[in-house]
Subunit: 286 residues, 2 copies
């Protein structure tokens, strides 16, 4: 595995790999790799000739009140994981390298961001889209891997790829879960023992919502029922329960056959704020 | 010469050309090709294996009060010129092809646009940057050719290429002039006979400004002298006379040796609004 820190070096090696007809899979991350990232790397390794992992904590996607400096970092551990997962190139630039010159533009995301978590993080997805566009131009992957735990981020990247006709396949990798259904997250350690037993009800609520839509219940009724279910089983009022078309994240008035749908939840426990979602293709049951 | 209308076709042929190691020169235009465009095509033809010309009147760079529909078009004539100039691929997409899906993002230009013509056309350069990024991803040129008549546009594209690390050489092609110095422009036909004799004083004023800077005169004094000179010789008050660092388009307090400088003028005659500029590397004379 080669560790590369310069943009020009990365572009040079990728040009050679591409000229040799190599298929390149890319996993962009902010490091501190967890099981979710490892699933992305596994998928990338199985389906490409060359796997590129990037680790870059992108200041542009942090708000003024979000603590960029406190973002966890452990490069040595990340390096070990990357090597074990068969990464060929680990791209690890500094902030100065990525934002060398005075930035003159930003990619402003105008759709898919005024809902879910985007509503509370103005500018966050502009920062994501801008850095991902930079990384795509540096790495020139054939395929890019993103985790569906961050379904809204995946929707934004999907829009970016379409808008600029990027010749990149976007692979959405499913959320990794504990046996009881709880989505894996570094934030789960902040749950106390009692909360940990209740947290799986987020995923159960998502499953309930899906079933109810499939038997023909109206969107707003399903949301209500899910909210009640979450309150009953966790003792917490959900921060949001939302149902949208996916990946457009537009309102669903009436659900159509084969429409792709996301149900998403956020619940604030005493210390941990948990999010979860499911995306599925709608088909009406009997 | 092949005329291509589909993005996917264009991407397919360019992929093949690039795999064969061909060097690709690209001239993006809105059509209605004039002598300036022909100079770009000539430069591109002399320095590349493959020349791509795009003709696309981009709605995104027109303001609500700018008449997109009245923009002059003559595809048959353009096609002839392209063939004569040795263009290999003429990319000629429809608006529906270029903006197929709901656009989710725009490239917002935050620097280099609050001066000169950008001041009066809010959003114009966002539209330019967005469509040029799309075209760059479709054509994947090694070199792109732009005319310095639109020096601010060139500055914006320069920023775009740096921001996203695009592996593209930007070639700035000098303004084509009449023998008396008047910059060639389709708008020159709107000058009456008397105005036509006075219009060359724009270029003379630029030359005067350059000389005055080189003998050490202060920026604000040079601007004043140029304004007086234009008023005296044309009878019109200049809309603006500006002097900036180029391509950053930032204020120049003190001029430094070898600094790249732009002097730019706009003058509104009875019917025609003319613009002109010179960009040069500063060196103090004796």
């Amino acid at each position: 595995m080669k560790i590369i820190k310069q943009i020009s070096d990365m572009q040079r090696v990728m040009k050679i790999e591409k000229q040799q007809g190599k298929k390149v899979g890319f996993v962009p991350t902010m490091g501190y790799l967890h099981e979710g990232h490892q699933t992305l790397l596994k998928e990338a390794r199985e389906n490409n000739d060359i796997v590129v992992l990037s680790i870059f904590v992108n200041p542009l996607q942090f708000g003024p009140n979000e603590d960029l400096d406190a973002y966890p970092r452990d490069f040595e551990r990340d390096e070990e994981i990357a090597a074990l997962r068969g990464v060929d190139y680990l791209f690890y630039p500094t902030v100065e390298e990525m934002y060398q010159e005075n930035r003159t533009t930003i990619i402003k995301v105008e759709q898919r961001v005024d809902v879910l978590c985007g509503k509370h993080r103005p500018g966050h997805f502009d920062g994501v889209a801008t850095v991902v566009m930079k990384l795509f131009q540096i790495v020139t992957p054939d395929t890019a891997y993103f985790g569906m735990k961050d379904a809204q981020q995946v929707a934004v990247i999907d829009g970016l790829i379409n808008d600029y006709h990027l010749p990149i396949d976007l692979v959405r990798v499913g959320t990794v879960r504990e046996e009881d259904g709880l989505a894996k997250s570094s934030r789960n350690v902040y749950l106390n023992q009692e909360e940990r037993t209740k947290a799986p009800y987020l995923f159960k609520a998502l499953a309930l919502g899906k079933l109810q839509l499939e038997v023909g219940m109206e969107v707003h009724t399903v949301k209500q029922e899910m909210e009640e279910y979450i309150l009953l089983h966790t003792g917490y009022k959900a921060e949001y329960v939302e149902i949208y078309a996916y990946p457009t994240l537009q309102e669903l008035k009436k659900v159509k056959e084969e429409e792709s749908i996301i149900i998403a939840i956020a619940v604030k426990f005493s210390k941990a704020r948990l999010i979860d979602n499911i995306v599925f293709s709608y088909s009406k049951g009997e």
